[in-house]
């Protein structure tokens, strides 16, 4: 029998494992990320969030198990047009201006040059468009990197900690942008180690030590654990897990 949620999912994994330097970084993950929603991947630093995102984008070596993205095997050539990816460290050229960076990546993607101005506007950097990236602040540089991922109308955005270190106003604006994108049908997967960003997501994957410990909506996570906030829910789940393994 075909499971419909599997077919419709933007991301589908089964028993995904990654080993690095003899250590298991991802320990058998099976989950689905629904299309057209903002899904948060939350967990402490070092729990394997970035490795999972790299596996989804198809740049992580030595993955075993299943990772399907938009109905195709992760990393397949046809997906390179359809997935936008922002690494944790801003991967743009510091010795070029914002506009030069975006023009270059737009040419690589075959995106319209009009997309360049749109992307710059979406991340609120119009006033800095001709400034060198090396002169920008860390937060501005991260937004340039995000703007690159918005080029070429990707169907899936994989964003590794895009809001770290940003001021609260900007953070709110970016989350609003993610939701606008999701409303237009884009699937957005956002990682964060800050638990208070959980309520901005429609769905949550809580991760700890290479394992998904919860996969639910923020409301259901709170009600099922009886916690006031997601940090509380996270702690309850970890405690339950410890008791179970005793």
């Amino acid at each position: 029998m075909v499971n419909n949620s599997t077919v419709d999912a933007a991301i589908h994994t089964e028993d995904l494992r990654v080993e690095r330097g003899g250590r298991a970084v991802l320990r058998g993950l099976s989950f689905d990320v629904p299309r057209g929603q903002v899904t948060g991947l939350l967990g402490p630093s070092g729990c394997g969030k970035s490795t999972l995102m790299r596996a989804i984008v198809g740049v992580q070596a030595r993955c075993t198990g299943v990772v399907e993205v938009l109905g195709q095997s992760a990393g397949s050539a046809a997906l390179r047009h359809r997935v936008g990816y922002v690494t944790q460290a801003p991967s743009v050229y510091p010795d070029l201006s914002i506009r030069q960076n975006l023009r270059f990546f737009a040419a690589v993607l075959g995106a319209d040059q009009g997309d360049v101005d749109d992307a710059i506007a979406k991340v609120d950097l119009v006033d800095y468009a001709d400034d060198l990236v090396s002169r920008l602040s860390g937060g501005q540089e991260a937004r340039v990197s995000l703007a690159v991922a918005l080029l070429g109308e990707p169907e899936l955005l994989v964003l590794d900690e895009p809001t770290v270190g940003l001021d609260p106003v900007l953070r709110r604006d970016l989350w609003a942008l993610f939701h606008r994108l999701a409303d237009s049908g884009v699937t957005v997967l956002v990682s964060s180690h800050v638990m208070d960003e959980a309520d901005r997501c429609e769905r949550l994957l809580l991760m700890r030590d290479g394992v998904i410990i919860a996969d639910d909506t923020p409301q259901l996570l709170r009600s099922s654990t009886g916690a006031d906030d997601i940090e509380g829910a996270f702690l309850t789940l970890v405690d339950l897990d410890r008791e179970a393994s005793r």
């Binding site: 330097g21 460290a89 991967s91 030069q100």
Partner: protein, 245 residues
């Protein structure tokens, strides 16, 4: 490969260079400075300058492009932009050829200035065509670019990348026939020099210097240099992995 993407890479590398005036100045004028120094230390002894000039014209573009490319590519690998590009519809060939074209253009400029200086002002005697002399210099630069791209895969810091210069370039300088004719070297060394690309680059320069026509030897030398360049680019493509640990 896709020409739109290849040329986008070339344009981007040149745009980065244009912003970096110091590097451009070093690329274009340091070889001239060194050639002038060479001419000066032989103090008007044209015979010696004519012996050492052509190998130098082959060596400078090779060395300079090797250094610039290995550091630039390493930066691309370590900054995350390479990972991002390879997650996009970027062919490995697009990236490598895009780089080679950009630095090839710079090499054309560099070689043009260096040839103009040595032949026009310093009195280097060349029987063959100056165009061919420049072509040889450009091919040497492309060879340096290709080798630089290749070795950048084996360095994890810019410091290490620079160390490849003495490790990979200097032995070729010693064995290319500059100090001792290759035929006069111990057999083992001559055999080694036969498989090093710079030897053929220097031979080609000398051939242009003494022969007015394009000889079969010259064509063979140029093809060997070109083959090494293409080979190094192909090996460089192998070192670009879409999936990394």
């Amino acid at each position: 490969m896709n020409p739109r993407i290849t040329f986008a890479v070339t344009g981007r590398v040149l745009a980065q260079l244009r912003r970096d005036h110091r590097t451009v100045a070093m690329l274009l004028f340091v070889p001239c400075l060194l050639l002038t120094l060479l001419w000066w230390i032989f103090d008007g002894n044209d015979l010696v300058f004519n012996r050492f000039g052509p190998p130098m014209l082959a060596m400078f573009p090779f060395i300079v492009m090797f250094l610039v490319t290995s550091v630039t590519t390493l930066r691309e690998r370590s900054s995350g932009t390479l990972e991002r590009l390879l997650a996009m519809p970027m062919g490995k060939g697009d990236l490598l050829v895009g780089y080679a074209l950009a630095f090839g253009l710079v090499a054309l400029l560099q070689a043009g200035i260096a040839v103009g200086l040595t032949v026009g002002l310093l009195g280097l005697e060349v029987e063959g065509s100056l165009w061919i002399l420049t072509l040889v210099a450009v091919l040497d630069a492309v060879l340096g670019t290709a080798l630089g791209l290749f070795v950048s895969a084996f360095a994890s810091t810019e410091f290490q990348a620079v160390q490849f210069m003495p490790a990979i370039v200097l032995p070729q300088v010693l064995l290319c026939g500059l100090f001792v004719a290759r035929s006069a070297m111990p057999g083992v060394l001559e055999a080694i020099s036969d498989v090093l690309p710079l030897s053929y680059a220097v031979d080609a320069m000398r051939e242009v210097q003494v022969r007015t026509d394009v000889t079969g030897d010259l064509v063979v030398d140029l093809l060997v240099v070109l083959a090494f360049g293409v080979g190094a680019l192909a090996l460089g493509a192998v070192t670009l992995r879409r999936r990394t640990a």
